[in-house]
């Protein structure tokens, strides 16, 4: 159970002058759902393409499903499933035809995949659209069909590139319910997403920023690892509070949420002192509560940390 489904070391990919992936290391254990989480341009898609054997990296190596991606790409391809970010099925083929096409491409023994297909069509509620052309499905249904096609050959590792971007929340839930079935069958899932709320569904998260993995761990461990505490502050006028807090030393960040502020404070900060600062600034109706760090808090803390490290080293060079 504890052997690795994906192991990447020092992956680098450049497109001309742009470095998309910069020395990325990644370990994924078998049977996990791992999220590669980061904003657009963090290098998620490029990383995934390298791991699927369809893009050759400029440096580094990767072993996926027990085979070296660079030396034996075809062996890797036969053992994995890949769902690209863009809709990548034949739009003029029907649901059934697309599934059969993929089953043939992956040489699934004839007669063994039809049951799996019917099962998946049932779970995804697509059975009644089996003879409809893919182009006539809604975005959410297209993604569910793409997922079925990705799973039809029972891959050992599944790579999903932003599978639910642009998909309505209900279809997104359905989608995740299918994914939850996979670890139980020993299948490993690697999924990219720019959304922190979606990242929370994963059993492990690798935060990506500017072509590197900032940190990888379970969501709970990531939340626990951040030293800052989060305070929720309600008061009026909010802007006065925000400006007062930004000048105060132990405050690491202030974020506005409609009727309240989320304030990241360093571990040694004293809530009583912060209350005094706000009262002196003249706010009314003050209410301060401690809150749990969100994944986005963690990401921002890590990304800002890396940014300031780089700025420091750049300043050192000058």
């Amino acid at each position: 159970m504890s052997s690795l489904a994906v192991q990447a070391r020092g992956l680098s990919v450049k497109f001309g002058d742009v470095t998309a992936v910069a020395g990325l290391d990644l370990d994924v254990k078998e049977g996990e759902i791992v999220g590669l989480v980061g904003p657009d341009g963090a290098g998620k898609t490029t990383t995934m393409r390298v791991l699927c054997g369809i893009l050759v990296p400029d440096a580094g190596e990767a072993v996926v499903a027990g085979h070296d991606v660079l030396r034996e790409p075809d062996r890797v391809k036969a053992r994995i499933g890949y769902l690209p970010q863009r809709f990548a099925l034949h739009p003029d083929l029907t649901v059934n035809e697309n599934i059969a096409y993929l089953a043939d491409l992956y040489s699934v023994p004839a007669g063994t995949w039809q049951q799996r297909r019917d099962e998946l069509l049932e779970i995804t509620d697509l059975a009644r659209f089996a003879n409809r052309q893919a182009v006539q499905l809604s975005g959410g249904m297209q993604q569910k069909l793409a997922l079925i096609c990705t799973l039809i050959h029972r891959p050992e590792v599944v790579f999903l590139d932003e599978p639910t971007t642009g998909v309505d929340p209900v279809s997104r839930r359905d989608f995740w319910h299918i994914l939850y079935d996979l670890p139980r069958q020993g299948v490993t899932v690697v999924v990219t997403t720019p959304y922190m709320d979606e990242a929370a569904h994963c059993s492990r998260i690798a935060f990506m920023h500017q072509g590197r993995v900032l940190a990888q761990d379970s969501p709970a461990a990531l939340r626990a690892a951040i030293t800052a505490r989060i305070l929720e502050v309600r008061c009026r006028p909010q802007r006065t509070a925000r400006e007062a807090l930004k000048r105060y030393p132990t405050i690491e960040g202030v974020e506005v949420f409609g009727d309240r502020l989320r304030v990241a404070v360093s571990a040694e900060a004293d809530p009583a002192a912060i209350r005094r600062v706000l009262e002196e600034a003249g706010v009314t109706g003050l209410d301060i509560r401690e809150s749990a760090a969100s994944l986005e808090d963690v990401f921002v803390a890590l990304a800002v940390g890396q940014q300031s490290q780089e700025d420091d080293s750049r300043a050192g060079e000058e």
């Binding site: 391809k77 890949y82 690209p84 491409l105 052309q133």
Partner: protein, 375 residues
């Protein structure tokens, strides 16, 4: 190499074509339209060449020369000019191809036993037409001269014979009808262009649609993808071969004198080479537009200009002749014309078939290689 993967790719491509009415246009309408356009458009046989006469002599002799022209099926008299300025007008407006000028004193000169010169003012802007017309004019004048010579000899009590005549026996195309020459060439042109057009979009289209990524992420090999993509188009192109042969017979009356089965068999080899060219363009191009453009230019121009379809290869510079050898259509053209006109068999054609086979394998290998690199 797995047959099932190849067939899966072929089936998807087939379904796509079946559901896309545009493919029907390319496969059925385009060949028929091209066949009609070219079949009627390219014709070296000129008949009823319009001409005018400007008779400055007005004698019996001049009129009988004009009659000689008037009675020929090659010429058609449009106007008898009386005003010098009409000459320019008629030639400028292309109402006539040439003006026959009978100079003053023609009858007098001939009567006196001197050489007489007839003037032909030709519109040389279309060199092919002007050349053919000039040939006919010279022939008609020569004919008339001979007739005059014989009459003159008889008149003086001599036996009226011509010293030399040629008695031609024309092989393979007895009527020297250009249709017999053009239609087989047209079949080659159509197949070369159509096949490349058909396959040129099949890979780049998937690239544009996004399904390309699924394909390259699957274990299917480049060769399986290439062959799978080609298979449906090979079937369609083969249907087009039959269509062309039938249309050639029904519309233009051109018969295959040789073995039709042999023609069909060899065309399969040519199709393999030609489809590979389209696939190669498809693997190289980034957009369908570029692929179609490349495929059209890359097959149409060389086939028209360098295969011997229109211009005889023997009269080309050595360098161009060399280039023409690396165009599969050049070799296939010889095969098709040979079978059509000479009823040639494998005994004669095998070297050409071998060359075509080498083309097919090489081009497919290059296409597979080019495709692999672009993943």
């Amino acid at each position: 190499m797995r047959l099932r993967r190849m067939l899966a790719i072929a089936r998807a491509e087939w379904i796509h074509n079946r559901r896309d009415p545009r493919s029907l246009v390319v496969i059925v309408v385009l060949p028929v339209v091209l066949l009609l356009l070219f079949g009627y458009g390219i014709n070296y046989d000129l008949q009823h060449i319009p001409f005018a006469v400007y008779d400055l002599d007005g004698t019996e002799m001049g009129r009988s020369l004009i009659q000689q022209f008037q009675h020929s099926r090659y010429f058609s008299l449009r106007e008898v000019i009386t005003d010098r300025r009409r000459v320019d007008v008629l030639l400028d407006t292309e109402e006539v191809v040439f003006v026959l000028v009978v100079p003053p004193g023609l009858g007098r000169d001939l009567g006196a036993g001197r050489d007489a010169k007839v003037q032909a003012l030709l519109n040389g802007s279309d060199t092919v037409r002007a050349n053919v017309a000039l040939g006919y004019i010279e022939g008609a004048i020569l004919d008339y001269s001979t007739k005059l010579g014989i009459e003159f000899a008889r008149h003086h009590g001599l036996s009226g014979t011509t010293p030399f005549t040629v008695h031609p026996i024309i092989f393979y195309n007895p009527g020297l009808e250009s249709d017999n020459f053009i239609i087989p060439g047209l079949i080659v042109l159509l197949l070369a262009v159509l096949t490349a057009l058909l396959t040129s979009t099949c890979i780049v289209r998937e690239r544009e649609l996004g399904s390309f990524e699924t394909l390259v992420a699957s274990p299917a090999t480049a060769l399986e993808i290439m062959l799978g993509k080609m298979l449906p188009y090979a079937v369609m192109a083969f249907a087009d071969v039959l269509l062309c042969i039938i249309a050639g017979r029904l519309i233009f009356g051109v018969r295959v004198t040789g073995n039709i089965s042999l023609l069909l068999a060899i065309s399969i080899v040519f199709l393999a080479a030609s489809l590979s060219i389209g696939i190669l363009f498809s693997a190289l191009a980034r957009t369908q537009r570029v692929a179609i453009f490349l495929a059209f230019l890359g097959t149409f121009l060389p086939t028209v200009l360098l295969s011997g379809f229109v211009f005889p290869l023997r009269s080309m510079p050595a360098a161009l002749q060399l280039i023409s050898k690396v165009i599969p259509a050049t070799h296939f053209l010889v095969v098709v014309r040979s079978i059509y006109l000479k009823a040639s068999g494998m005994a004669v054609l095998w070297p050409l078939v071998l060359i075509l086979a080498v083309f097919a394998v090489t081009l497919l290998a290059i296409a597979a290689k080019a495709f692999k690199k672009r993943i």
